[in-house]
Symmetry: C2
Subunit: 744 residues, 2 copies
């Protein structure tokens, strides 16, 4: 282990300090949390490493400005977004950056500034009680939520660690005795209901306390951070690594919070690796933490996280947490794909890990990140559904189908079992609203989650999943939702016919539904077609709504519409329906049930197979929203009434191009001649009429076993396949073609 | 003259052919329309000139593909966007590009392809009658509109000119006798009602006929193109240069059609300069054509044209017409600012002019284009209003206020006298809808202007200008509108207080209104404030509506709103009002009349000074739109009822920043403490309370004369200024501050 670390250090080109295992923190003044490049290397090389040089320059600008502004440590008063809140945020960044700059440059003024700032906190902190603006979350001292206090401590501990060597015994005693120790105590045994939870707030508290433990040379605090207050291992960071991540590195709350939670995990793990390498924390659970970094990146499109569950849709890999995550993962793995992510981020961290990223990037070692189709199982044992990602290629504009077959994901989870999303041509096409929230915008309830997050964003109708009788899955109750997870039945991420099939039982009493999403590469189509087959068995007569939230401007509808020109009604009264304006209602036939829209120069036709008597509702979000808290986005709803069972067959076809520069438009109309569905005894068959008198038949057996052989007689032809899904290319004869819409 | 041309040729590094003045086209086979770089220079240099090399590569790909696809010259059948329409478009580009590639490479296969294509047209053309899909426009033969036939001929003539030298006498006779001469005849004396108009369709026809004239060695056709069918000069290209452009290079129909019209002007002018330099066409009217190229560029933000009048808002400088415009203007002026435009376009043309652009760009000669505040007068004598552009700086993100004080601009003009637009931080903030049209999208009425272009996009309420009694300016009648133009009273484009003031009389009977837009640089504000003072005298009691169409999501309204939660009514029944959904209505006071929205991470607060009893309506476009032809965009309307006169005082304040990566928000609330207005005998005074107990007073005299001295007593203080606008920074005393909202 020693040898490996020393070699790693050599490879990093950093000053080879005594290997961590041999270090006795109690006896040394040297920094313990982070490995640093030595200042001589930085001086010699940094200017030739744009990524690192820019990062230093950015930190210098910030800290120099903070030094000019002077130490300003106000008495806490404001909620999120307010002046004192923002000042304390600036301060922890300044403390950290000043410490880091001192390590990189050796300039004493940086150490001095961090010292003065920390001494000011030593004056302030001991006198603080609960924050005056505390709301419904656990109150902090410096901030309205103790979560923010943890974040403060994670940053400040790293900054302090970097300058501790420069301080007098007196200063250390003051800072540690009045800031780090009491904060660590407050966040650990002073807040057991947070510290011992299995939740991202606890992760931050654990990391804050653990990092403080190393800095204070207090192994007891470190143990508590790792194993919980009672050191039993029933809580603490390691238990959280066990319970919050699936074996594939999927974080229970979804990608938005995965990003957020990753930072305390990786920062603390880095310190554990430095000081207690025998714990092999990066190897814990088969390397789950590194898997989690990779999984987070896989759950992005054009750098933006899939906005499932509570999520800000503008959140991308260009974020603090992932700068650290990528650099720390790279330092451990040397995975050249991570370098291209760092390049896209255009940022890194000011440590030896970031230095290595910058150096290897400058040396041309980056390789494209291997974006691919991937099944990320959910649940500690991988047994609670999955996020299925079908990616048509590794490029940034390639098509991605996301099947959200995950479990509920706690309080930030949305009620949208078997929901799906589509990205194509660089854009979100079938969308997820994300969270109803304006982060840190004071006028929007201080930047907190808005009431519409409950009344709209979390409701099933706000997603692309089945709604039974205008109520949300699990009646919108988190506890009931946590009790049931979908079952991922089949996943095939390669080839011309990529498939995810999942089943949900328990979202509604006595209702079971199964959905297959099939990404079909078809010759002559530049982007794959997406077939969506959703079959529900309800036991009794129900109303079934299948919404599709899409991004774009409607170009054409194939069927007549009854519009609401003079006054626009609301669709319902509760469960999100009160937020839906109805533009028009139609009753399409199987021959004319399509809607075409345009998004960023490409056309999308959504073709349906409506049952007799069913309706299609064209609508928009944003009703019953007197404070303008919601975005207004189009949707359509397929509605079937009074049926026990129903099958929704839909096909999404990207086509054509509009080029505003050249003023040319090609292929603005769908090329699919017809769509038909046939239910056999134990399989569904969908026919798709292609140009050139070809018909594609997709056969989906109920039985997912790969070995099972299936055969049906279909339109007088025997069709046989093995496994869950069969695909047949058939040349139509003229008779069929003339009757292209007939149900077989 | 000869010497100058030869020198220019040397400077261009092109083969110095016999100077044009000495050339006798009738006696030479050489190309006459365009000056070419010699193939040796191209071979030696092109690979080192990325702009030119890419352009050649692009042309090669297109033409090589066309050669592989074979000559396909279908019998005309389809309207715009249809298959035969698009094929004939591809063909004229292929003929042109093949000719150009032959000139640059000397490869015979390119000449041969153009020859075969032209011979196929010689087979087709003589048998054609009026196009079968002709609609309400003048029908062509190859296309549904004769306009497209002109465009075909402009391109094909240039391609033919480039290969003519390679053809046998027989082929020339066939192609000229069956294509160029009959087309030129059809478009000139066969279509006098188009050819002799003053209109962009005529420009295309004139250019097509004129270029054909040079190629056919027929001076008579050239004369007609320049001077009209009767050669009197009452029509033709020169007359169009006189009447369609203002002395400042503003084109009557506005920037969208300016871009479109420029291409035939510059291509034909280039040929005139080559063959008839004594006409000094580029010097015509003090160089109006070159001014027009510069004016077109000045009328952009982030490369996009201001979308006033009928315009596609996605239209940018990255368009065919401006690649040629920039290169041809550069070849004449060597203005290094044009090189940076070419760089932004990333495109040029395959001629000596484009070669010079590419070479000088590669040599690092580009300088930033001098974007600046500019007054572009409208009308042949500059007497019919103006487009006033206040630009806070030359950078792409700097703020731009556009005051649309132009005349009607013929059939594509909108009824929006004294309308305004705002760009800030790289985005359109106060917006213009542009045209209701989906260019070339078949399902949207073949890509033509939609009915909603008349019922919404052209109406006054769809703009940011005054609406009297829910009717549009001039009753929405073009003829009445053409009879009246606004009067630009004052323009000051430099300094801390930039101003445009204009007056409109005649938009409504007995109604006169005047508007000052003031762009105020204020210390401590990163972007200027914009003050909008609009005063109307109506002679009798009216309802006055002042709409503001803005881009962004509403964050906060200062005043209580009566919302329409359960059903959303329509505001009116005609003149565009039938397309407005009403979200909420409020009756703000002077103390709380503001609305804040966010756009791309920056906040915008629009503060009003409502008269007693007035209303603010929050609304959205898109009602009464059963075919989803309209975009849905937010607006607010200040409404005053039953007044003879009214003054609308509004202040737009950009502020703060939301950063989704860092999750920080600063300055999300307005910093303006109050806004007050005082009408003096012959001046308006507006007070703006700034942070730090400062008050800014803007005094706008009715009299615009620069020399006039004004003095008023204001809140016990004497205020004196000279000229139209005075500005005073006042330190408030405590008493005033406590009563900051009092009307003086």
């Amino acid at each position: 282990m020693k040898a490996r670390l020393a070699l790693a250090a050599l490879a990093l080109g950093v000053s080879v300090a005594a290997p961590a295992a041999a270090r006795s923190p109690q006896e040394s003044d040297a920094p313990v949390l982070i490995r640093w490049p030595d200042p001589a290397s930085v001086r010699a090389e940094a200017t030739r490493l744009p990524l690192f040089a820019q990062e230093m320059e950015r930190a210098r600008e910030d800290v120099d400005a903070a030094i000019r502004a002077g130490v300003h440590v106000p008495v806490p008063r404001d909620p999120g977004g307010g002046a004192t809140h923002e000042q304390h945020k600036r301060n922890y960044k300044a403390i950290q950056d000043a410490g880091f700059l001192y390590r990189l440059t050796g300039e004493a003024r940086y150490a001095e500034f961090a010292r003065r700032m920390l001494l000011a906190y030593a004056d302030l902190y001991p006198g603080l009680g609960p924050h005056p603006a505390a709301a419904n979350q656990r109150p902090g001292r410096l901030f309205w939520q103790s979560l923010n206090d943890s974040v403060w401590l994670v940053h400040a501990a790293q900054g302090y660690d970097a300058i501790r060597q420069t301080l007098s015994e007196d200063d250390r005693r003051t800072i540690e005795g009045k800031v780090f120790r009491p904060m660590a105590t407050f966040l650990s045994k002073g807040s057991p209901e947070v510290f011992d939870r299995i939740h991202n707030h606890a992760t931050w508290a654990n990391a804050a306390v653990g990092l403080s433990g190393y800095v204070l040379r207090d192994p007891d605090l470190v143990e508590k951070a790792l194993l919980g207050l009672d050191k039993s291992g029933n809580s603490g960071i390691l238990r959280q690594l066990d319970l919050l991540f699936s074996p594939d590195g999927y974080y229970a709350e979804g990608p938005y919070y995965q990003r957020y939670a990753l930072l305390p995990f990786v920062l603390f793990a880095q310190a554990v690796e430095e000081n207690d390498p025998q714990r092999r924390i990066f190897a814990h659970r088969d390397g789950v933490l590194l898997k989690a970094v990779h999984a987070a990146i896989q759950m992005t499109y054009q750098g933006h996280f899939f906005p499932i569950n509570d999520a800000m849709p503008d959140k991308s890999l260009r974020t603090e947490e992932l700068y650290a995550g990528v650099a720390i993962a790279y330092a451990r793995t040397r995975d050249p794909g991570l370098l291209s992510i760092a390049q896209m981020q255009g940022r890194t961290i000011l440590t030896a890990a970031g230095f290595a990223v910058a150096r290897d990037l400058a040396a041309g070692r980056a390789r494209p990140f291997p974006f691919r189709s991937i099944l990320l199982r959910d649940g500690p044992e991988g047994e609670r559904g999955a996020l299925a990602v079908l990616r048509s290629g590794a490029g940034p504009d390639d098509q991605v189908v996301v099947a959200k077959n995950t479990a509920q994901g706690m309080g930030h989870g949305h009620f949208d079992k078997l929901n799906w999303l589509l990205y194509d041509n660089g854009n979100a096409i079938v969308t997820d609203y994300g969270a109803a929230r304006f982060l840190n915008v004071e006028a929007k309830q201080g930047g907190r989650y808005l009431p519409e997050n409950e009344s709209w964003a979390k409701q099933t109708i706000a997603h692309n999943s089945l709604v039974v009788d205008e109520t949300s899955h699990f009646g919108g109750e988190v506890e009931r939702a946590e009790a049931h997870a979908p079952r991922q039945i089949h996943f095939e991420g390669e080839g011309d016919t990529r498939v995810s099939t999942a089943e949900m039982v328990g979202a509604y009493p006595d209702v079971r539904f199964r959905r297959s999403l099939v990404q079909l590469r078809v010759e002559g189509f530049s982007s794959p077609l997406v077939l969506d087959l959703l079959r529900v068995e309800g036991g009794a007569a129900h109303q079934y709504d299948l919404p599709l939230h899409f991004a774009g401007h409607i170009i054409e509808t194939g069927f007549p519409l009854q519009s609401n020109p003079a006054s626009r009604p609301v669709l319902g009264t509760a469960n999100g329906y009160q937020h839906i304006w109805v533009d028009a209602i139609g009753a399409p036939t199987t021959a004319d049930a399509f809607v075409t829209w345009i998004n960023d120069g490409r056309f999308y036709t959504y073709r349906m197979l409506p049952a007799a008597g069913s309706q299609v509702i064209l609508a928009e979000s944003g009703a019953n929203d007197p404070s303008f808290n919601l975005r207004r986005e189009p949707m359509l709803i397929q509605r079937v009434r009074g049926s026990e069972d129903a099958t929704f067959v839909s096909l999404l076809e990207p086509h054509g191009a509009y080029d505003p520069s050249a003023e040319t438009t090609v292929g603005s109309r769908s090329r699919i001649g017809g769509l038909r569905h046939h239910r056999d005894a134990a399989a569904d068959l969908v026919e798709i009429d292609l140009p050139g008198a070809r018909t594609l038949v997709i056969a989906i057996a109920d039985d997912p076993s790969p070995a099972a052989a299936h055969s049906v007689t279909f339109q007088g032809r025997p069709l046989a396949w093995r496994g869950h899904v069969g695909r047949f290319d058939i040349v139509r004869d003229a008779t069929t073609d003339q009757d292209g819409m007939s149900m077989p």
